[in-house]
């Protein structure tokens, strides 16, 4: 009789153990599923903003006025400048500096970034990529404003510029925005 009782006790303990293990696994799984993801969500709004920004005419003319470059041309000129093929806008202004000023103005006036605004922060990355894992990406420019803290969500988008004369590879632009409450 004692043997039988012990066996039942073991069975019960085993059963409870299994239930506990299954419960713990489910709780872990749920906590992972419910945890806030810090990855940015793809946003067509941001992709369209980037695309439209690339067509915006800047105040930089390289050969003559009014051959003003648009932002995507200026990015290419800036990359060439970084590679040693030095370029200047008319008026001896550095192409990369003019690009930075224009981009900042365009992004900040359209997104209205600020601590009390809907958009709390942004980060813009522009880099040249060969599209493989052999050669590393080459950073052309990185702009940001605000801090990615307490974001209700992070949205992002990208736009590719065909590099054309640079052979294989392309210039990628990526914009991520921290949305406030």
């Amino acid at each position: 009789m004692i043997k039988k009782s012990k066996r039942s006790q073991h069975e019960t303990a085993g059963f409870v153990l299994i239930v506990l293990i299954v419960s713990i696994i489910e709780v872990i799984f749920l906590s992972i599923a419910l945890a806030k993801d810090n990855k940015s969500l793809p946003s067509p709004e941001i992709s369209h903003l980037l695309e439209a920004t690339m067509y915006s005419t800047t105040d930089c003319a390289i050969n003559y006025i009014p051959q003003y470059r648009d932002v995507q041309d200026l990015i290419k000129e800036c990359y060439k400048d970084m590679k040693g093929d030095y370029r200047d806008c008319l008026g001896e202004r550095d192409v990369c500096q003019v690009l930075e000023d224009n981009l900042k103005e365009l992004i900040e006036e359209s997104l209205d970034v600020g601590e009390k605004s809907r958009n709390k922060a942004y980060k813009l990355d522009i880099y040249f990529t060969y599209g493989d894992e052999i050669y590393p990406n080459e950073e052309i420019m990185s702009l940001n404003k605000g801090a990615f803290i307490n974001c209700s969500s992070i949205i992002g988008g990208g736009h590719s510029i065909a590099a054309g004369s640079f052979g294989f590879g392309s210039i990628e632009t990526e914009l991520t925005v921290c949305k406030g409450n």
Binding site: T12, V16, V19, L30, S56, T57, I65, Y68, S110, D112
Partner: protein
Amino acid sequence: MKPRKNKSKEKLPKSEFLKKAQLEIQEMAFMLLAVFLFFVLVGMFVLTIVYSNLNQDAARIAEERTLSAVVSLADSPELSCIAAKSNCIDGDKLITMIRKESYQDFWPFSSLKVIKSSGFGKNEEELIKCNFANYPDCDLFVVYDKNVENERAIGSYVAFCRKEYENGYTFDKCELAKIIGGTELKTKG
């Protein structure tokens, strides 16, 4: 598993019988607890999926659909730029379309407006409406507005290009703009 013996017919001492009964009750209690826990967790899991992912996805898809309608509007022959640029509006075409009531039945929007970058951050009252007299020094193009009561506006960023003349040359001058299409929200009942 061995077949269970008929308990009622077993002759056990009272204390043994009570112990066995206690054990069985214990087993049943644990079983009930486990079943309850299991259903609670399954319920939570289902609720999580239903109220987070599905709703989020539905909202995102609906918004993307309206957005793509607005973007395809920018690429329509009536508004698109002459240069092969997608997501680009020709300002010189747009100015000829303002207050054209015939477009009300042409596009599936209750209102259609374009705000230039000079109008970003301004209140609606502060925006300068465009007409032939003040173009291009203005902020807002109203193609048409049906003035519906319950309207949801969806906007998308576009490039806004027009021809400029300087030093004897004409060139394309592009800036940022926002195209806004309004859709009437139909209430049930």
